[in-house]
Symmetry: C2
Subunit: 415 residues, 2 copies
Amino acid sequence: MKQVLAEIITIGDEILYGQITDTNSQWMSAELDKIGIRTVRKTAIGDSREAIVHALQAAEAIADIVLITGGLGPTKDDITKHTLADYFGAELIFDQSVLDNITRLFSARGREVTPTNQQQAYVPANCTVLQNPIGTAPGMWFERNGKVFVSMPGVPYEMKRMMLETVLPLLQSKFETPYIIHRMIKTINIPESTLSDLIESWELALPPHLKLAYLPRMGQVRLRLTGIGTDKDALLADINRETEKVVAIIGKYFYGYDDDEIETTVAALLLEQGKTIATAESCTGGYIAHQFTKHAGASRYFVGGIVAYSNEVKVSQLGVLPETLAAHGAVSEETVRQMAENVRIRYGASIGIATTGIAGPDGGTPEKPVGTVWIGYADGTQTIAKKLALAQERSLNISLTANAILDLVRKQLSS
Amino acid sequence: MKQVLAEIITIGDEILYGQITDTNSQWMSAELDKIGIRTVRKTAIGDSREAIVHALQAAEAIADIVLITGGLGPTKDDITKHTLADYFGAELIFDQSVLDNITRLFSARGREVTPTNQQQAYVPANCTVLQNPIGTAPGMWFERNGKVFVSMPGVPYEMKRMMLETVLPLLQSKFETPYIIHRMIKTINIPESTLSDLIESWELALPPHLKLAYLPRMGQVRLRLTGIGTDKDALLADINRETEKVVAIIGKYFYGYDDDEIETTVAALLLEQGKTIATAESCTGGYIAHQFTKHAGASRYFVGGIVAYSNEVKVSQLGVLPETLAAHGAVSEETVRQMAENVRIRYGASIGIATTGIAGPDGGTPEKPVGTVWIGYADGTQTIAKKLALAQERSLNISLTANAILDLVRKQLSS
């Protein structure tokens, strides 16, 4: 079976000038991967006819499927549609179904269709229109010499819905694809080189159709094991066998697979044990609560938390003793212990966790430089406090602190 | 003056397979842009010799500067360095200064240098080594026919530090660049097409050396006005004049420029007026507190907040009346008013803000479908509550709720 190859083209000066991050192409390639289509290149270009034509030609040369996002908004900086029409040798024609969709969307919001929006109902004559149920710009599907080109809006949730409901099913019916299986094996609190040395002999003995990659990110290293083949069951068995081996070697640094995050691993342990958690955050400022609550169903184990940013709030709302703050300061073992213990009791949770530290870039002292952080854990039976010496960068310090306390909770719940 | 052009190449299967988002190339192009270097393409490819060579050739054909990230980690999936050595016709040679740097880093962390790390001290003979003060993989600078190629590690904070301290200054000394000035004009709570119609006659009258782009994101539309020229003062005067005009047209939907975010605009107003704020979050679950506290200096205006996720916590820690919850439910005007008023008083802030709603995907009812959200504002003189009817998607609902309440605070502080 021939491997089906895709290129993703992102159009927009805003990507080139660095005003926005392209998250679309990541999501798209992950979805293609799930159905056995391999992305071989991603190209981002500006709103320029010449660049678009060049990118289409280059993509047509190496890929079977070319997915294009961006350059379809209602405003004047968009030339994608005209360039596509020319590239495929067609005129723009008026499409009533597109205007009907725009009208429906606008009347639902109590708005009038503007002339700018009416222009969006013109599409190249030789494309198949893909309706956009939640936006005004339609998608467009072209075919030439067995290759498929799909143009979609750049607004992430519009693109995602169009991909899931229309584009991916159509691609699956058109192309025959091999099985690609990925297993992500997630580790925490072990550096990449140490992990590499630890699992070296296992890695060297991997069969040739399985490939390993190291993906470090914010204090975590994820291992991605990828298998490709035609026999799905055999491939899955191979992946499972090798995963089991390597997880045994990694031991306590391993916390989950695939879509697991450290906070969802903790959440699963809490649910399994019928426990709840509450947070008392100073330096992480609500970030840990957000890590729990960004996932649906968080109310089953997360009761709430406090962001005790000022010392006054630490005293009045969290019951930290003023004399503790006076004697040891807010960034201290004594303070973090009281924070964890008190939030547990006040919020009626099984477990209380706490953070206090100097996230930076300001606020450091010779004794407590930027990156000095205390984390605390209390479960009614014991209280644990731990000091971290982190980095210079504020957002990194916030993430690494969250990692550290969540991993401490994981270990306590697993022991 | 000839425009200096750059291409950014990102290497790594993890980008192609969609396991991680490429944030490096966004940051890099924004930095290049600041010094008048125009990024004309971004290409992401896998860890394949053939793809790397092809991308280098394509970039060499269109750009003066080629910046490469990724593919330099200590582990075995990296082939970038060998391919670069071949591409520039050189052997890999041992570099003592690189090993010294690795040894220094490891002893600071109390670790031994592993054989895997020692391999990182081999570099192509004809490159200039760029030391990596915070990581083990060195950067490499190559020149050929007046063009510059720089290979950097893919770890974001290592790459950023190398760019800021070494690469950008070297590029500025090597190339003569024009002035590019961007002005970002940020709007909130107005749809892109409405905004476009509102400012149409201004936009049509723009001088040809000024270009406008619409950048919609999560309920906000940013306008980017870009000017290019050789006379910096004249260009800046043009940008300032047109900005003043369009801001007057946009009126109450305008909230800030450039790096301003809605929360930093609110923060600036609070500081200016000597006021403080506290948050009571239910459906946003700590996200709004994190928006404030992710910025340095938040302690000057943000005293803290509560994530009142469960009804018990709303009652015990925030003083919402049990009879209110029983009669109207947690997602109601009455509840959000009490949340905002009580957090203001209990946390000793000038202003209290609150959110309660159904973020989804579960928890909706016919009367209160997913996306039903109440936001509240209290300043001691008045309390304002507002109902939102948002979307189906959890993370979008969290962002849009934060937008709405922060914009409400902005308007109150500006009126």
